[in-house]
Structure formats: C-alpha cells, structure tokens
Amino acid sequence: MTMAHFGGHGRTHLSEYAGDVWFGKLDARAKLVGIFVFVIVSAVLTDFVLVLVSLAVALTLVLASRLPVFYLARMYSAAVPFILFASVSVFLFGGWERGIEMWARTSACVLPLLVLAAGTETFDLFAGLRRLHVPAVITTLLMLTQRYILLLSEELSRMSIARKARGFRGARNLLDRYGVKVVAFTAGMVLVRSFDRADDIYEGLKCKGFGQEMTPWRRSRVALKDGLLALGLATVAGLLLTVQLGVIT
C-alpha cells in the first residue's frame, strides 16, 4: 500500500500505533459514536468549569488510550496555529477567561479526534463510518482521497530526495528565481506523476471489479468492551450537557 512518512518516527502511517494499543483493537463504530457524541457536546459547552471538565476527560482519554503521548503531541502541534488563532481572537474581544475557554474547548474537541485518528486503522475508520450507514459514495471518496494524499506525499518525498541527490539545496528566498523555478517544476511534476500513479491505481481497482464500495470482507462485531467505551463517553457527554442546560445543578 502506498506509504507516507508521518511524524518522523520511522512510522509510516498515521495510525501506525493503532495495532499496539488496546484502544486500536476496539470496534471502529463504537469509537466513532462515543467520540463524536463527546466532541459535539464539548463544542457546545459554554460554562467555563464544564469546558475544563471536558478537557480533563479528553486528556484522560489521551492517557488511557496508551498511544504515545509525544506522537499525539506532534499531531496536536499541527492544530495549534488554528487553536491559537481562535483563542487569541476571542481573548482580544472577550478577555482572558474567554480566550482560555476557547483554547480548552477546541482542545477538548481536537484531542479525542486525534486519539480516534491515531488509534484506529484508517481503513477501519472509513469502514466503520460505512457501517454506521454513511453513504458509500462518501466513505469510498474518503478512502480514495486518503490514498491520493499518501500518493502525493510519496511522490513529493521521492522528488525531494532526487533534487537533493543532484545538489539542489532549496530556494534561498522568493527572489531566488532559479530556486523558485525548481520548486515550481517539482510541484508540477509531483502532480503529473501522482496523476499517472492514480491512473494505475484506478486500473488496479477496475481489475479487481471495483464498483463503488470498499468495505471489509470480515465483519467485526461490537463486543461488550466496545459498547462500554461508547456508553461511557456518551454518558459523560450527556452529564455535561444536562448540567450545561440546567437540568442538573
């Protein structure tokens, strides 16, 4: 399968650690339901204390998942610019408490999603969505898009190595016309080459009688532990929501 280096840890897939931890062995549907319910509720919380509680739950999930914290931290760092932008904007108009609340709320949403992405085989994740009756055209598009992104990344990595092997050290600045030209050509070549590869992959799919669906052959079953995770997260989310709505004080 097409590979792309991610995170610089010698691991080649986003979900490379999924097979090593208990969280990765749970049914994707249970994880999707539990985490999405939790994230949606966390996103609508407005009470500062409740937002902090939801962040604490998210951090507990990070630690309990047994996924390498440094790995998740690196993934989180990719979201930091967006989180900071939102938090600083809110801080400027609403004060420090609102700013921190925004940071906590977005982090409480992002962290469980990172755990879900890193702790579930990407294919299982999309297959889980399909089994939750998300339309086949969407899940198949997601799978093929992921494949294409990996392909682009692989071609980019190859071209980058080829450039370095021939002494190219990158454009020094935007006025470095030669450097910019090489980078532009590389971008064009990456697109052309990945288009060719995508064509080959499409032919490969057709050879195997591909229609519209990519679902696993083996059917997994939702076991008790899967149900408990989904139920646990949904219960926490439900409690937070009821307190937020004033049903429980």
Binding site: M1, T2, M3, T12, H13, G19, E121, F123, D124, R147, R197, D200, I201, E203, G204, L205, K206, C207, K208, G209, F210, G211, M214, P216, W217, R218
Partner: protein, 306 residues
C-alpha cells in the same frame, strides 16, 4: 475456442507513437506464453489492451470467444487477471486476506472463504492472512497481488514484468510458483531466463510480431535476438561457451532444468563411454587403465582428443 485470440491489432498513442501494428496471436487453454522485446516494444500496451483498459485502433481482441470492446470490457475483465509491475498499484486493503477477498467480493463470486484460502495457498501466503499489507516486502506484495488475482479465478493471467525489482530469492520463489501453476498465462518480460523456466512458447514483439516459437528457437535466432535487443539467458551463454571449448552438446539449454537434464544425459553417456574404455583396456595394460580412470573421474579430455 481459445481463451485469447488477437487478430491484426494495432494501437497508436495520442502523441502518434505506434505501439502495436498488425499483431496476431492466440493462446490455447493452459498455455504459457512469454512476450519479450525491448523497451517500448508494446508489451505492456498489449496487456492493457487485453485487459480492456485501452481499445485497439484496428483489429480485434477476443476473450473466451467474445469480442472485446468498450461495452464488453468491464464484463470480460472478469476473465482476465492482470498482475501489475508495481504491486502497490493493486493492493488496496489493510490486511492480506482482506485484499485477496477484495476482487471476489466486488465480482459477487461465491465461496469467498474458499477462494481466499486457495488464492493464498497457491501463492504461498496462507500463514500471512492477518499481516498488514503495507508492512510486507516487495516480493511478498507481488505474492499478495497474485493471490488476489487467483482468488478471482480468471481464465487468463496477464503478468507484467513479474520478476522485476525482486531479490534473487523472491525471484526464484516467484518463478517456481508460476511454473507450477496450471493456468493460461501471458507474461510480458525482459527476463528471458525466468521466461524460459515458466513458459512453453515465446513471442518476440517490437511493435509488430518478429517471431513466435519455443524459447529454444528464440535463443538460437541470434540475429533476431540482437534486433530485439535481447540477451541470452546466462545458462545458455555458459553452454555456448562450453560448446566452443568442445563440450558435447545436444541442444542449447535455455533454462536451469534443461541444463541439468542435459548435463545428466551427457555425464551418463560420456561416463559410460569412459567406463567402457576402462573395461576394454583393463586387461590391456596398467597405463591405459590409469588414463581412462582419470577421464571417468571427471578429468575429461577435449571431445576431439577422445
């Protein structure tokens, strides 16, 4: 009815490059044929035409007696299993067994469990069912791709450079696997040595067909080999050198099996010959006896000195 019949097929790329011209050939059931030729000879184009990914500009391709055209391509592709040069282009699922099951499921075939088991067994992957496909070696990925195709049980196997990029052990294993397979096969390859081990017949292609015959007929056609930019298999080269040194050769072997067979035959024949000499001369004198004993032990005299 033959599984594959090609009549006067021509194909030109959009940029005007003529890839195939007036090509006619057929493959009988269970026959293994190699298509050999230099780069740009049209080998891969031919496989893509048979798989229905491109349509010929002229002539006709018949699969299982049915003409291949735009409307029948998807349906006829069920009868054709194409192994790509790069296995990464045809492995889609996260585990070996899932990938092997992918084709049969898409085609709505029955007994998927059995097909997966047979496909994996035929390609020697039965113990690796749960392995992640992206963690496999290149050679293993080739095997998974083959298992995936076999599980679809196609009438014809099309193999595009099956031995390219493989290390010697994986190459030898793959050759053994293909050799044992009782399937109709068309193999596009540069690797004459591998082809000689696997196929019954070879077609030399360079836009048009230059020759059709057995591998031995091919390697004996020196001018044609040169014209097609092909090299003799190393084993044939060795025996050609031996021949110039006076080695008693019946036929030029093109594969290791043939070479072993021939060596056995020659040793058997020449050994008996030497033994007969010993027997004849043993009563005649000690010197003669000594001389022929050495010959029997392997210190052969050149053929013309016997």
């Amino acid at each position: 009815m033959k599984p594959l019949e090609i009549a006067d097929v021509g194909f030109t790329y959009e940029d005007g490059t003529v890839a195939l011209k007036g090509l006619s050939m057929s493959i009988g059931k269970g026959e293994k044929v190699a298509v050999v030729g230099p780069n740009g000879a049209g080998k891969s184009t031919l496989l893509h035409l048979i798989a229905g990914f491109r349509m010929p500009f002229s002539g006709q391709v018949m699969i299982e007696g049915r003409p291949l055209d735009e409307s029948s391509a998807d349906d006829l592709r069920k009868h054709v299993g194409l192994l790509f040069q790069d296995p990464d282009d045809q492995i889609f699922m996260p585990t070996v067994e899932e990938d092997v099951a992918f084709g049969p499921r898409n085609l709505g075939l029955d007994d998927i469990e059995g097909r997966v088991a047979r496909g994996m067994r035929s390609s020697g992957m039965e113990t690796l069912a749960k392995r992640k496909t992206h963690r496999l070696s290149y050679g293993m990925k080739k095997r998974v791709a083959i298992a995936g195709i076999l599980a679809m049980d196609p009438a014809i196997l099309l193999l595009d450079e099956p031995t390219s990029g493989l290390d010697p052990r994986s190459r030898a294993e793959l050759i053994g696997l293909l050799k044992e397979m009782d399937r109709t096969m068309l193999i596009a390859t540069h690797d004459l040595e591998a082809a000689a081990e696997i196929v019954d017949k070879a077609v030399v292609l360079n836009v048009g067909m230059l020759m059709e015959g057995t591998m031995r007929e091919l390697v004996l056609a020196r001018d044609l080999m040169h014209e097609a930019g092909l090299e003799l298999p190393p084993i044939s080269k060795l025996f050609r050198v031996l021949e110039t040194m006076g080695y008693p050769m019946d036929d030029l072997p093109v594969s290791l099996d043939e070479a072993v067979e021939q060596l056995t035959r020659v040793i058997d024949r020449e050994g008996k010959h030497a033994h007969a000499h010993i027997h004849t001369h043993v009563h005649g004198g000690h010197e003669d006896d000594h001389k022929h004993s050495k010959a029997a032990a392997g210190e052969r005299q050149p053929r013309d000195e016997k």
